[in-house]
């Protein structure tokens, strides 16, 4: 496969995952603005979510400090100035798909192109006709359709591995970043215990990762900081946990190593296995003892290194 084709598939996966991340943030952000909190309170919440998407200052540049429902929607869904908005991500995923048309089945292309065409028609509709639920539904529905078409129709070849590597590394990164901006609420703090505030904060984290229902199925009982962190970091059943996301990346890298044999460097696979080993060597207590923020910083930089190694091994076109 052409290195450029592989690179486009990899980034197509990343952008599709990123679009869904933006939609989830939109859902949470909108929910926060509905809460009867002090103005200062929800501003902080909102700001931390923006930081998770890596766009806090950019938002301020475009909208000042006016945090309204409409501004949130504009920024996270429609704004092409925000490279992580749903519109930006779908457009770039679709453009990437157009470039590698020959590597996609017609069903995948159809799903991707339909998402893009409907996005364009949404953009032409008056904003008064659109509500947040419709926008998040739009994103998850099309995300699922594309994902389903990929799973049902793509050949299980190297292209499929690159596409899924993009998805899984992006998801590992997104979960870790969201945890990192909110890590302080997971730390045991005497003054909040039992005040209801902490509980609500954890709910926000779970909701931002579409995990509030799954969490209860997996753990039951009270929501505690330790359980939330365990669910999102080390639980192999949780679909967006760091462990699950990394496991999928490792699986796809192994697939590439098997397929390509010894002539092709495998530094990404080695690196990912190493990270996996170190992740599995801890339990959640040890992670808290070590420092949650330090742990997450380490993990985020590991994901970046794996991504760079994927680029060096496969996408840069060795001569």
């Amino acid at each position: 496969m052409l290195s450029r084709t592989a690179a486009n598939l990899f980034w197509m996966g990343r952008h599709l995952e990123r679009a869904e991340t933006a939609a989830r943030l939109l859902d949470v952000g909108a929910r926060i603005t509905l809460l009867p909190n002090t103005e200062e309170g929800y501003r902080n919440e909102w700001d931390s979510l923006l930081r998770a998407s890596g766009a806090s200052t950019a938002f301020a540049e475009h909208y000042g400090d006016e945090i309204t429902q409409e501004n949130i929607e504009s920024w996270l869904f429609f704004d092409h100035a925000n490279p992580s908005s749903v519109a930006s991500c779908i457009e770039r995923a679709r453009e990437g798909g157009r470039i590698v048309r020959t590597a996609l089945t017609s069903q995948v292309w159809d799903a991707l192109n339909t998402a893009y065409q409907e996005l364009r028609s949404l953009e032409r509709r008056p904003r008064s006709q659109l509500d947040t639920a419709m926008l998040t539904d739009f994103t998850t529905r099309h995300g699922s359709t594309v994902r389903g078409a990929i799973n049902a129709t793509q050949l299980r070849n190297d292209g499929w591995h690159f596409l899924n590597l993009g998805y899984s590394l992006e998801r590992a990164d997104a979960t870790a970043r969201l945890l990192d901006v909110k890590y302080y609420v997971l730390l045991p703090q005497v003054e909040f215990v039992g005040s209801g505030l902490d509980n609500y904060q954890w709910q926000v984290i779970l909701r931002a990762l579409s995990a509030h229902r799954a969490f209860h199925w997996a753990y039951g009982g009270d929501v505690t900081a330790m359980k939330v962190a365990d669910f999102l970091i080390l639980n192999g059943e949780s679909p967006r946990s760091l462990l699950t996301s990394l496991y999928e990346a490792v699986w796809h890298l192994d697939g590439l190593v098997r397929r390509y044999g010894e002539g092709v460097p495998a530094t990404a696979s080695v690196r990912a296995h190493e990270t996996m080993k170190r992740l599995l060597a801890r339990n959640i207590d040890e992670i808290f003892d070590e420092g949650l923020h330090e742990f997450l910083t380490w993990f985020i930089s590991e994901v970046a290194s794996i991504s760079t190694a994927v680029h060096d091994d496969y996408l840069s076109g060795r001569m």
């Binding site: 496969m1 157009r98 020959t102 192109n113 339909t114 996408l315 060795r318 001569m319």
Partner: protein, 470 residues
């Protein structure tokens, strides 16, 4: 209004090729037609059959209007066209072989040396080099118009990288999907073997140093190019990689593409970029689209480039006037398809005639394309004619003139129902070890009433083109 040949009606009588369709039109209710038309457009958009126009604002994905009413040829009509097209493609390739070799046609005084050797499209780098099988132009697109039952004229030849074949294939796909009954009830020659024939043609011109089955790629300028859809469509149907210049590099006398498993050798490049961008070491130094060192590999038999650089010297509007002469000179045959009478304005006598008759003539720039830079005398205002005359006076050598042809019409769906609209035809002739032509082509139609300009950039649309079996 000129008296034009109507391909459907002779007097009140419906001609044989359109007999079935005539009934189809009459029995289709307006609502169904509108619904089908909307369905066709949605299909084009969903499949992504658009041509991309960046940098003009608005929607970058434009649709070429698709007319559901097919254009139909009888088998006998097509056989004659086919012989004429193949004859012309053979002569054009013979001409290219000759002018990059011994130049006998020039020495024999049958074509002025100036038109060949001072032509911008002439490639010095090709002199004394013969590509595999002596083929220069592997895909020849010949634009044909009809003026009477048995009168066909060639409007121009395209020897470089003619586009539009994806529309020929997709128009058919969409028609078969929307109106299967039409295909059951008519015997229509298929066209979907084209990609396989193209692949076989490219395999047949593998370079000297290629051992084993050749690796073919299509070289595109990239996804911002207006014909990108066609490039990826053909790559997909042939099962070959679609590459950009940056995916290729030259090493040790061969061309390689960069893959996830390291370098892979490339043997045949079907390029859809212009000559001047192919190799920055040989042509334009600032080209970012090409591959440095490509021409050296080509000349030493390490790779084949289709169409060959310099093939364009056979297809400009000045050389065009000599194609009938080429057919006689190389093949010893009389041309089956006629050329349109052409006045070349660098000849004093022609210049005087044209300037005196601008209001009746079509004047074109020698190197222009896409329907731009031309004057259609009968449709132009006095002021337009005067200002165009000034441009001609400034450089007469840049222009040719032709009579305004009464282009035939084919029935076309319009708001009011069905009405005759002017059409042309571009078939795609493949030249490798054999010369192949699928029965069909791209019919372009001028959708505006009375308009003779079929270019998509100026309000033209496309139709499916049928050739009926016996």
């Amino acid at each position: 209004m000129m008296n034009c040949y109507n391909e459907m009606l002779e007097g009140d009588r419906v001609r044989e090729p359109y007999a079935m369709l005539s009934e189809w039109i009459e029995t289709m209710p307006v609502e169904i037609r509108q619904m089908k038309q909307a369905e066709a457009e949605a299909l084009f958009r969903r499949i992504g059959i658009t041509f991309a126009v960046y940098g003009e604002g608005g929607d970058p994905d434009r649709l070429i209007p698709f007319d559901m009413m097919p254009r139909v040829f009888l088998q006998a009509e097509w056989r004659r066209l086919e012989r004429g097209i193949k004859q012309r493609a053979r002569a054009l390739n013979a001409f290219l072989r000759d002018v990059y070799g011994r130049a006998e046609i020039v020495r024999a005084g049958r074509i002025p040396a100036r038109l060949v050797y001072q032509n911008d499209a002439y490639e010095k780098a090709m002199a004394n080099f013969t590509p595999p099988r002596g083929v220069y132009s592997h895909i020849v697109g010949i634009d044909i118009v009809r003026t009477g039952r048995d009168e066909f004229y060639v409007l121009e030849d395209n020897c470089r990288t003619p586009s539009g074949v994806s529309y020929m294939l997709e128009n058919r796909e969409i028609m078969m999907r929307m109106f299967p009954a039409l295909f059951r009830n008519n015997r229509i020659e298929p066209v979907d073997q084209y990609p396989e024939l193209l692949r076989r043609t490219l395999v047949s011109v593998a370079p000297r140093k290629c051992e084993g089955p050749p690796t073919i790629v299509i070289l595109t300028p990239g996804h911002y190019n207006s014909a990108y859809y066609e490039h990826s469509f053909l790559a997909n149907l042939m099962g070959v990689e679609l590459v950009e210049g940056s995916d290729l590099f030259v090493d040790g006398g061969f061309v390689y593409m960069r893959t996830t498993q390291g370098p892979k050798r490339v043997d045949v490049i079907y390029r859809r970029i212009d000559d001047q961008f192919l190799d920055p070491l040989c042509f334009r130094r600032d080209s970012m689209l090409g591959v440095p060192g490509l021409m050296d590999v080509y000349r030493s038999g390490g790779v084949s480039i289709t169409s060959a650089p310099g093939a364009g010297v056979a297809d400009d509007k000045a050389v065009y006037t000599f194609v009938p002469e080429m057919i006689r000179f190389y093949l010893g045959e009389e041309p089956i398809l006629r050329n349109v009478q052409t006045w070349t304005l660098w000849k004093d006598e022609d210049y005087r005639y044209v300037m005196a008759n601008l209001k009746d003539l079509v004047v074109k720039e020698v190197h222009g394309s896409g329907g731009y830079g031309m004057l259609i005398g009968p449709r132009a205002s006095k002021a337009e004619i005067e200002s165009f005359a000034e441009r001609i006076k400034a450089s007469p050598g840049n222009y040719i003139a032709q009579p305004t042809l009464a282009l035939s019409t084919s029935p076309t769906f319009v708001n009011e129902g069905v009405a005759p609209r002017h059409v042309d035809l571009r078939p795609f002739c493949l030249c490798g070890d054999r010369i192949e032509l699928v029965p069909g082509g791209l019919t372009r139609v001028a959708l505006r009433e009375g308009s003779l300009v079929v270019n998509s950039s100026q309000g033209g649309g496309v139709k499916d083109t049928w050739v009926l079996t016996e």
